[in-house]
Amino acid sequence: MSLLEIKNLHVKVDNHEILKGIDLRVNAGEVHSIMGPNGSGKSTLAQVLARRETYAVSAGEVSYNGKDLLAMKPEEAACEGIFIAFQYPVEIPGISNAYFLRSALNAIRKYRGLDEIDAMDFLPLFREKLKLLDMDEKLMNRSVNEGFSGGEKKRNEILQMAVLEPKLAILDETDSGLDIDALRIVAQGVNAMRSPERAMVVVTHYQRLLNYIVPDFVHVLVDGRIVRSGGPALALELEEKGYGSMEADARQATPA
């Protein structure tokens, strides 16, 4: 059984169809990359998997770990082990990063029938992950993402991922806005989490990230459809040729 199985997924926003029949299978232990030009529907796919309710699924099925993902609320999906690293993490004044993360961890632990972890016990776990992402402990007493630079926000997403230990991690353009050093640290954090029990879907526009997080499979998303799939070499081909050629092929393939 695949960890994630998407069949013929059609998604609309404001009556405008963005995803036009996505098929995708991801098994535990695999890292898939989804690449595509702007407007292709990459983020929409990520948000639907994270259960954002503003996206209307007009057709298709998504099964996660044998369960119907589309029937789950965001918090259920998270407790079942799905994590999305957002492209634009929101700031939440008044709730500290540390408190937020511990609350999330405890919500998930409670769902799994485990005891809650208190602030004292949380600290060593927290510090270990902070170190992994080269983040200053002082940032953690600040409000969630408040005053964080773009790079800090992205690292904070991966920090959360490291603490929450999901089964399926979806990284939505995690590399956008990062300089080379930040990119390396983020990739390091992500790679440290690769395991046979975990799957990842890395959504990206540029190939560069994939030099650091080498995927097992690459899919090209153009105009709401996956037009090509292949191995890591496909990413290099895209880098060389650009999306234009794929877009042209896609236009030819689909009826008007």
């Binding site: 994270a50 259960r51 954002r52 503003t54 609320k73 965001p74 918090e75 999906a77 998270a78 407790c79 994590f83 999305i84 957002f86 993490p89 929101v90 939440i92 004044p93 008044g94 709730i95 937020f100 993360l101 609350s103 999330a104 961890l105 919500a107 998930i108 769902y111 409000s143 969630v144 959360q160 929450l164």
Partner: protein, 462 residues
């Protein structure tokens, strides 16, 4: 429902009875104070929505009820009944039942030497000389009928005197309990707090009610801040949801004073809290920090009038409101900068969160500036719970109800982050937490339709 004439007759009867027997009835200055105040009340009557200062608040629930002073002056409450209202870590806790001091229920042991905390009625009887220079000297009875009415019926409440140079570490706690009577009853607690030069203290007024009933509490506090004093004042309103509560805090600030006033409105059906600091001495600072949380059909009205009467004074007003159900909140922030108040620095901010389609907020800044070298800013926002923030929390496994509660708490924490760490802040945080927990439950339970902000940010007005 009564007519205006019947109402006047009822109050006249109450006043005549009261005047004869009240503490200090034999003191000419006090008799005069009461009579002039009552005359003023008769002259103006209760405000209507045609009065500018009461435009958003309809007081007919008070005006059209024949309130009498509590007949049952000696309501006996047990220690057990008050157990839930005891707060640890205070210098003293004075208990007032329906406006009357209950010595047997009060705790007075932890006060530093020289500090006087007594019932006002007791002080009027034993030591009127201490009271006369201050009582009624600051409160403007021409302000509104409620101030006049309170002064007409002035008798009991707290009298606090902090001698020069004294630091009172622990808070002075005043608990006002209202209980049901067989008829609609009113009380007019009056507090007089005099802090001499160079002293520091914290005062808390906590309004609670046992049982239901139609109760009207009309309270006034005159707080006299001598030069160089550092004072904190808390007003907590958490009576039951049918209670009527009008409160006025009149602060007189001397030179280089630092006064912080916190107002937390959680209970009551109709609540109006007036805060009126006058910065009379140079270099004074005043911070007014408010939070009001309304649900069901509550009406919570916050009115402030900050008067800059001297140079180089600073004032800050920060009010946060959370409204659900079909609650109605009002914020009316007036700042008057008198002609000679140069180098004034005044700032006012009101932020409001509406949780349902039927919740309503009226927010009105009013700046009257007569000096020419001043800095004066004001701003207000009205918004809903951020959809993006809510989704973010849920995407990490936090269920919707808990996530809403976290966000409401974060919004409210802007207010208590301005409170000094200590027993009072802890107490207030606990009360707010309880209150928000009710609000964060399933939208329908709150009585209004939930609306989620699907992308529209805070609306800035003014």
């Amino acid at each position: 429902m009564i007519t205006a004439t019947q109402q006047l007759e009822s109050y006249l009867e109450s006043f005549s009875e009261f005047e004869k027997l009240a503490a200090g009835h034999n003191l000419p200055w006090l008799r005069k104070l009461r009579r002039e105040a009552f005359a003023r009340f008769c002259e103006v009557g209760f405000p209507t929505t045609h009065d500018e200062d009461w435009r958003f608040t309809n007081v007919s629930a008070i005006a059209q009820t024949a309130f009498r002073l509590t007949r049952n002056r000696c309501v006996r409450l047990s220690q057990q009944e008050l157990e839930p209202y005891r707060v640890p870590g205070v210098a003293c806790q004075l208990v007032f039942v329906n406006g009357h001091f209950a010595r047997e229920l009060s705790l007075l042991s932890n006060l530093p030497p020289g500090v006087k905390v007594n019932s006002l009625a007791g002080e009027i009887s034993d030591n009127p000389g201490a009271i006369e220079p201050h009582l009624g000297r600051y409160l403007e009875i021409r302000r509104d009928a409620f101030c006049a009415l309170n002064t007409a019926f002035v008798e009991d409440g707290a009298y606090v005197h902090i001698p020069r140079g004294t630091l009172v570490e622990e808070p002075i706690y005043l608990l006002f309990v209202s209980t049901a009577d067989d008829a609609p009853s009113m009380s007019h607690p009056r507090n007089l707090i005099v802090a001499e030069e160079d002293s520091q203290a914290t005062f808390v007024e906590d309004y609670v009610s046992l049982d239901g009933g139609t109760v009207f509490c009309n309270t006034v506090t005159e707080l006299v801040a001598g030069d160089h004093t550092v004072l904190s004042h808390y007003m907590i309103e958490r009576e039951h949801k049918q209670a009527l509560n009008i409160s006025t805090l009149r602060i007189q600030q001397g030179r280089s004073t630092n006064v912080v006033s916190h107002s937390v409105l959680l209970g009551g059906a109709l609540v109006r809290n007036n805060v009126h600091p006058v910065l009379a001495g140079e270099g004074g600072e005043c911070l007014i920090n408010g939070l009001f949380i309304g649900n069901g059909g509550q009406h919570l009205d916050n009115y402030m009038l900050v008067e800059h009467a001297s140079q180089r004074c600073g004032s800050r007003q920060f009010y946060n409101g959370i409204l659900d159900g079909h609650a109605h909140g009002v914020f009316h922030g007036r700042i008057i900068v008198h002609k000679d108040a140069q180098k004034t620095d005044a700032k006012q901010t009101n932020r409001n969160l509406l949780l349902s389609d039927d919740a309503q907020i009226d927010t009105k800044p009013q700046l009257e500036i007569y000096a020419d070298d001043v800095k004066c800013t004001h701003g207000a926002t009205i918004g809903q719970i951020e959809g993006d923030a809510l989704f973010y929390l849920r995407s990490r496994g936090i269920d919707e109800v808990s996530a809403r509660k976290l966000l409401l708490f974060a919004f409210a924490s802007e207010c208590f982050d301005r409170m000094k760490q200590g027993p009072v802040r802890k107490h207030v945080e606990g009360l707010i937490n309880q209150c928000l927990f009710q609000l964060a439950k399933a939208p329908d339970a709150a009585g209004g339709t939930y609306r989620e902000n699907t992308g529209r940010k805070w609306e800035e007005i003014g």
